[in-house]
């Protein structure tokens, strides 16, 4: 009994120390990425190349998902709003839901799964095959050359992808509401224009997606760089990227939404 109690306390202690150590390691890593970023911006083609792999290659999943989410939103929204005779507000419902919440959050979750996992796997495999060590031995800092361009590509891509997700979603809502249900097109767009505020709705959505972009890019690059240099290690790191990113996105969304609604109030 006494032995198992001591063992339990020891395990908790180990986990606490490990968590604190890991938090410190992430902070140190993040600091290094920021301080080593100058080279990435001097050689902007490194970032552009990574934007292609992270951002452009995620376009299909983002646009298609956005379209489907918008169409489902249109069906569900119409079904509910018509009970109150407010089906003409469908455009407002679709735009506000997408721009404020669904756009930034769902596109961030998709981006973490599609691009975040790929970034972690790529950096992790480069570590496992000693490519990062080789680079370091060539007097080329792997954080500046490999990590920073991928980090900034994620940060830049995320708000653009979220905007495209919302655009595709609104178009999906338009297809269902206007083309299938028959709500007047002018009413759909007019009500939307009148209700959506650039400052409080669109800009706040962009801020959210930018914050999510920083979080996903930091988590994905750190997990790759910190991965055990084995097949199992890279696999575990990739899983951690997706899980940690998803939880971080949802937690950050709650905090940001609370802050933004308080500002509006």
């Amino acid at each position: 009994m006494k032995h198992s109690l001591i063992e339990a306390v020891r395990r908790v202690g180990h986990r606490t120390i490990d968590t604190i150590w890991r938090a410190g390691a992430i902070a140190h890593f993040f600091f290094l990425v920021i301080t080593q970023s100058a080279m990435s911006f001097r050689r902007i083609r490194l970032i552009i190349r990574e934007i292609y792999f992270s951002g452009v290659m995620s376009l299909v999943i983002i646009m298609v998902s956005g379209l489907f989410v918008g169409m489902v939103l249109g069906l569900q929204g119409y079904e509910t709003l018509q009970k109150y005779g407010a089906e003409e507000q469908m455009g407002v419902l679709a735009a506000l839901s997408l721009v404020r919440e669904l756009g930034p959050v769902v596109s961030a979750l998709l981006f973490a799964s599609r691009a975040g996992s790929a970034i972690t796997a790529e950096i992790g495999l480069m570590k496992a095959t000693e490519q990062l060590k080789a680079m370091d031995m060539m007097a080329v800092d792997p954080i500046a050359r490999v990590v920073a361009p991928r980090f900034w590509a994620g940060v830049i891509s995320m708000p653009i992808l979220a905007a495209l997700f919302s655009t595709a979603g609104i178009f999906g809502g338009y297809i269902v509401t206007v083309m299938l249900v028959g709500i007047d097109s002018g009413v759909f767009w007019g009500n939307m224009q009148a209700a959506v505020d650039i400052r409080y709705d669109v800009l706040n959505g962009v801020i959210k997606s930018a914050v999510f972009g920083v979080a996903i890019a930091a988590i994905a690059t750190f997990e790759g760089y910190d991965a055990e240099p084995t097949a199992e290690g890279v696999s575990a790191a990739t899983t951690r990227t997706v899980v940690t990113s998803a939880l971080t996105i949802l937690a950050l969304d709650l905090v940001l939404t609370a802050i933004m609604l308080r500002q509006v109030a």
Binding site: L125, M126, T129, E130, Q131, K133, A134, M135, D136, M137, M138, A139, V140, D141, R145
Partner: protein, 266 residues
């Protein structure tokens, strides 16, 4: 001397790897460091390259104590050296050409047409000019090692370190890589350190050999001295004897005891 290792200790956590080891590598020579797996050979290369720091003793390269160098000075030193990793460590997202051109683009302001010519010259030296457009995934193990060799000498380093350059190669590739190491060293006027298990190939291409066991240098000499050595470890290693100072069996409890044929000792 280009590299001087003096009374160096190193441990991975509680596990000691090097125990007061000393060795010296003269300029212009090809020196081999040999020993069994896990004896600390690769650790020695990492200490010379500054990727690890000794817990005791000094490692000097070109007269500079590696442990005292800051990041910039370390990178300045590394620009004059290069390392060939065990499995090449080629950048898999770049072609063979771009792998060899990598350091030229990172560290020099050379125009692209000059880089083009230099890369083809380096690839020609290892016999792979025709493979310039291939990607690492399309190369055999021997070809990848030779590309890594071309990349290692891209900026004509003063010191080239090879970590197990012969591991996993067929006899032809092995001979090609061995001869290329020797020829490149002579052509560039460089100094080479080769960490390897391969006694036969090493004795043909190196000027001097160190034998490392249990974290210490237990024998050294020219290839002729090593061939004639009667020191038990060197004799076992050079003649590939199954048993000797390096036991065939990993330490274990009694065989009969493990098979439950004898009572367990207390």
């Amino acid at each position: 001397m280009l590299v001087e290792i003096d009374n160096v200790d190193f441990a991975y956590g509680p596990r000691p790897i090097l125990k007061g080891i000393s060795m010296a590598v003269p300029r212009g020579k090809v020196v081999a460091i040999m020993g069994g797996s896990g004896c600390g050979k690769t650790t020695l290369l990492r200490l010379i390259g500054g990727q690890l720091l000794a817990s005791k003793g000094t490692v000097k390269v070109n007269g500079q104590d590696v442990a005292t160098l800051d990041r910039e000075a370390m990178y300045a030193m590394r620009r004059k050296m290069s390392m060939l990793f065990q499995f090449g460590a080629l950048f898999t997202d770049m072609s063979v050409f771009d792998n060899v051109a990598f350091q030229m683009r990172e560290h020099t302001e050379l125009p692209e047409d000059m880089i083009h010519d230099l890369v083809l010259m380096k690839l020609n030296a290892v016999g792979l000019r025709g493979a310039a457009k291939l990607f690492p995934a399309e190369l055999s193990g021997g070809m990848a090692r030779r590309v890594a060799l071309a990349r290692a000498v891209a900026l004509d380093p003063m010191l080239i370190m090879y970590d197990e350059p012969f591991a996993g190669l067929d006899p032809i590739s092995l001979a090609v890589v061995g001869q290329t190491i020797r020829k490149l060293n002579n052509a560039l006027g460089a100094t080479s350190i080769v960490v390897t298990h391969d006694v036969v190939e090493s004795l043909q291409i190196v000027d001097y050999l160190y034998f490392v066991a249990d974290g210490r240098v237990i024998g050294q000499g020219t290839p002729d001295e090593i061939r004639a050595s009667t020191e038990p470890f060197i004799k076992q290693f050079v003649h590939s004897e199954l048993d000797g100072p390096v036991a065939f069996h990993y330490p274990a409890a009694g065989y009969a005891e493990d098979l439950a044929l004898a009572p367990k000792s207390a």
